[in-house]
């Protein structure tokens, strides 16, 4: 038996040796800087809490983290097929399932890396920009639950958004495996993510039972942080349950298709 970590190492090499990966990471950092600098230039430095800016940036840029990870996830399987490298990759003493797992793990590691980059850079940049001289009484425009600190609130926010990210990225990974086309997988996942998300508030108002089972109603978990769920009676536990069912379904389909299909052309 070989060493499975070597497979993950290979997948990481294939992700981080490509310029586009570093472009994505630079864009993320660049946008954090740009937003903070703009705020510094046009806002009032002394009456702004650094947490205010951290939250704005986190909520806007986490979408970018998701998009970038979807792009990587969509490519990681499909590109092996479109370039033909899949043939030489598969004819090694490893089951297809394990090769696919190494890819999935590498994608998830990339997602976590981007999330950590966002977390660390927003806090560091805004502490430098606003935090050092800030008035400790500076008001926040979002409700931190009583007894909680901004940091604990932020961590909860990240945890919930990461759950949605994992489901979205797994969807992209599945589409990448089924269609073997990175473009199609990126397009479809982002369409579902952005397009459907903008209708989600409308759909949520409809009074049908089946809407409770739609994936997209549950992808925005941060609705529970502020305590006003989109649909009457929905709880965090219920949403996590629905997402878990979708997640298992996506994983099952992905592995089934990857194991079953002939590698031709």
């Amino acid at each position: 038996m070989g060493d499975f970590l070597q497979l993950v190492r290979n997948e990481n090499m294939k992700i981080y040796r490509r310029p586009r990966t570093w472009v994505m990471m630079s864009i993320l950092l660049g946008l954090v800087l740009v937003i903070s600098i703009l705020w510094l230039s046009f806002g009032d430095r002394n009456s702004t809490s650094m947490w205010e800016v951290v939250f704005i940036e986190a909520s806007v840029l986490f979408l970018l983290v998701t998009i970038f990870t979807v792009v990587i996830a969509a490519g990681v399987v499909a590109e092996e097929f479109t370039t033909g490298t899949i043939k030489l990759l598969l004819i090694r003493p490893w089951s297809r399932s394990k090769i696919l797992l190494s890819k999935y793990i590498a994608v998830m590691m990339f997602a976590i890396l981007l999330a950590v980059e966002l977390f660390v850079s927003t806090i560091a940049v805004n502490w430098l920009a606003f935090g050092i001289h800030a008035d400790p009484e500076a008001a926040l425009s979002f409700p931190v639950p009583t007894g909680g600190t901004p940091v604990s609130y932020l961590l909860q926010y990240y945890a919930l958004t990461l759950v949605s990210l994992v489901v979205t990225v797994t969807l992209a990974f599945m589409l990448s495996t089924i269609f073997r086309s990175g473009g199609l997988a990126i397009g479809l996942s982002l369409f579902l993510l952005l397009g459907v998300n903008s209708f989600v508030a409308l759909i949520a108002m409809l009074d049908y039972q089946w809407i409770d089972y739609l994936l997209f109603i549950h992808l925005n978990l941060t609705q529970y942080l502020d305590g006003n769920p989109m649909r009457e009676g929905m709880t965090l536990g219920y949403s996590l349950g629905v997402l878990a069912v979708y997640y298992i379904l996506f994983i099952a389909v992905t592995w089934y298709v990857f194991n079953k299909r002939d590698v031709a052309a």
Binding site: G2, Q6, M13, K87, L88, P93, D262
Partner: protein, 307 residues
Amino acid sequence: MTQPIVKMVNVTKRIGKRTIIDKLSLDLPLGEVFGFLGPNGSGKTTTIRMMVGLMSLSEGEIYISGHSITKDYEKAIRYVGAIVENPEMYKYLSGYDNLIHYARMIPGITEHRVNEVVKLVGLEGRIYDKVKTYSLGMRQRLGVAQAILHKPQLLILDEPTNGLDPAGIRELRDYLRLLSKEEGIAVFVSSHLLSEMELMCDRVAIIQNGKLIDVRTIRGSFEAGTVSSRVLIEVDSPQGAAQALQAAGYSAALEGGQLIAVETDREGTASVNAALVAAGIKVYGIRTHVKSLEDQFLEVTGGERIG
């Protein structure tokens, strides 16, 4: 004979309603360069895809060193190094990193071995360059490098000379023969270039429309005395020689001039010579004419190219 390294039993592949490979059975022994010859679209690549587990079998079974490729893939594939069609590699990585990538997937491949293989395929000068800057022949060499990295017992190469220059073809040919004779491994090479197969293979299987039509021995077969071939003999009196051979139980044909032709094997050639000398015929020269593979190929496929 030792156990064959590859055993294909009734291998059949159907896609939709079409039968692409039809009940193909073939055994490959160790120590031989085995050619797989067929016109375009005859099913060579499809067979190879099934041998390395990229495609499922509709029927039949393939065993590599006794392990079923469908049921015991990880064990079976351990013995195999392969190029399937074009050797596509990661273009954004260097040749060296590509090899490291495959080396990591099999335990026990040292950096020393990687460097050794790089030297062997003659890529030392460019191995740290990105693969996207490689020429077709250089990619082919890198493909061979990844296939032999783990010293496989069975080397499967789908049209390996595609894109190689004459020197490269010659090197590859010599290297494959060396591998099979010195290291005793089995080499399975597909091609539709007949002349090339003739030079590098010990035996050749001919496939057409997904069916195995024939297996022919090429190399050293006449010397080994296993096949008969046309023997041309130059004598002083063709007429007399023909009569003398008739009497000795050989049928001889007059070839014009001083030549007669006899179909016989190696031992037969000596007896024919003895019979002629005994009959007082002067023998000036004996030449064996082994039919070229091209002749045989066109003969069995009826000259038809695309199935």
